[in-house]
Symmetry: C2
Subunit: 296 residues, 2 copies
Amino acid sequence: MNYDNYLEDKRILIEQSLDEYLPNAETIPNHIHKSMRHSVFAGGKRLRPVLTLITGEFFGTKEDELLPFACAIEMIHTYSLIHDDLPALDNDDKRRGKPTNHVIYGEDIAILAGDALLNYSFELMLESSLNYKYPYIGLKAAREISKASGTSGMIGGQVVDLEMEKNRNANIENVSFIHENKTGALFNASVRAGAIIGEASSNDLNNITNYAQKLGLAFQVVDDILDIKGDEQKLGKSLGKDEESDKATYPKLIGLKESEQYAQKLYNEAINSISTYGEKAEPLRKIANKLVNRES
Amino acid sequence: MNYDNYLEDKRILIEQSLDEYLPNAETIPNHIHKSMRHSVFAGGKRLRPVLTLITGEFFGTKEDELLPFACAIEMIHTYSLIHDDLPALDNDDKRRGKPTNHVIYGEDIAILAGDALLNYSFELMLESSLNYKYPYIGLKAAREISKASGTSGMIGGQVVDLEMEKNRNANIENVSFIHENKTGALFNASVRAGAIIGEASSNDLNNITNYAQKLGLAFQVVDDILDIKGDEQKLGKSLGKDEESDKATYPKLIGLKESEQYAQKLYNEAINSISTYGEKAEPLRKIANKLVNRES
């Protein structure tokens, strides 16, 4: 089986499903729906929702039961980017080579578009759970996602990130906390939600959680590395921004070469966590490899 | 039975439950939890959650099954106020006589505190539904609330409100749309969620929905009237702000006296919707009366 195509097919399916689920750009009030769609379709890699799909399929669940949850996670990720980019937070006017939401739609609509995406992600998960044979399973997956995106997860990481930027005295523990929460938690939930919907055993859930945690951290370490040595064109953003803003990153705190070694170590640990799963787990290995060796 | 005490007891129960449910102010990162708590405990009247409680009890549900949903609605209401008050939206530095969230915690934290309250409201509803005997019922109530707070409800109303402020040519249809969505939808969901959890029949759900819709609109018309003739001290905000900002309101569009008559008419219609329910529905009548004849 060609797993490159497999992953690409999943990505395309996510694109199509997001388009289907989101309110039409003509639906009144259309301004907000256009704004939501602008950011959702601004060129994300769809790593999180693809992880939900391939994990759920690994545990034997059909695509159509996974898609609402996969897309809900991508909407939550997108809302967090819209709010992160606001002048009151990171003040970024470009993301993935395109103007950020508030630059086009104004800060007021950008704030509400973020709110609406978060709200809609739950609407979608609740609606889908009601149509499940066992609503209980959908509920469990939605709870997992809600915990990961709140103050004990993603938002918690955003808050500490803001505090560190102001204090400028972050140590490796702070950076780990930020990464584990700001990006790691939702990454983890993407994988776990697929396993929960697939009714994985507790042993399998442990293995897959370990895989997700190592992978999420590796993803973030690579992100820090790419900010230094990436290709500006491919990344679609200005490089060296972290350094310029004196932001605490892995390369800054432990060195560039050490960061590359650390990313590799985390990748190996992720792969080892699923070593007993044989051929069927190949998409999980493939996406891990892609993610660690990416150029943008 | 003294229904004044009954309503006041419910309000106190909501205060206590909000305090129990919300993350402790010392929980790390504590800055965001303090910020969330600041706005939740800034003196709200708790009309929405009390409506959920008394409607649910009318349909025979116990308090502890209703409280998570009642409090989730109050958190959603609070988050919408935090974001509405931001400089990019209404730019209000005072609400209920107290400094608004961003004035104390900064815009960045205020944005994230709003996000966190919305997120947490769903976390709470999902967690509670999982503990229900029939998770399906909790799911249905949570879906009702999610629809009311999204772009087809509250956020939709906020967007049109912003547009009207910019255009300054709002007519009575626009004002109705804003009221029905910005405040009406969540008001409606507060009542309907109680009825859904109470497994009301479709006929009862129709009656109670009619009650909620008339009441929600009456509430908003009274709000507009109070902005002109209310007591600044009791309201805890500067009066005449609507007029000053040339905002389209009922008194401005149909006249003050006519607005008062309209509020009374809506109140009568709300009461008529539940006229067959006898003594047991007295709390629903009492709160309607309180709400229309309030001074703040």
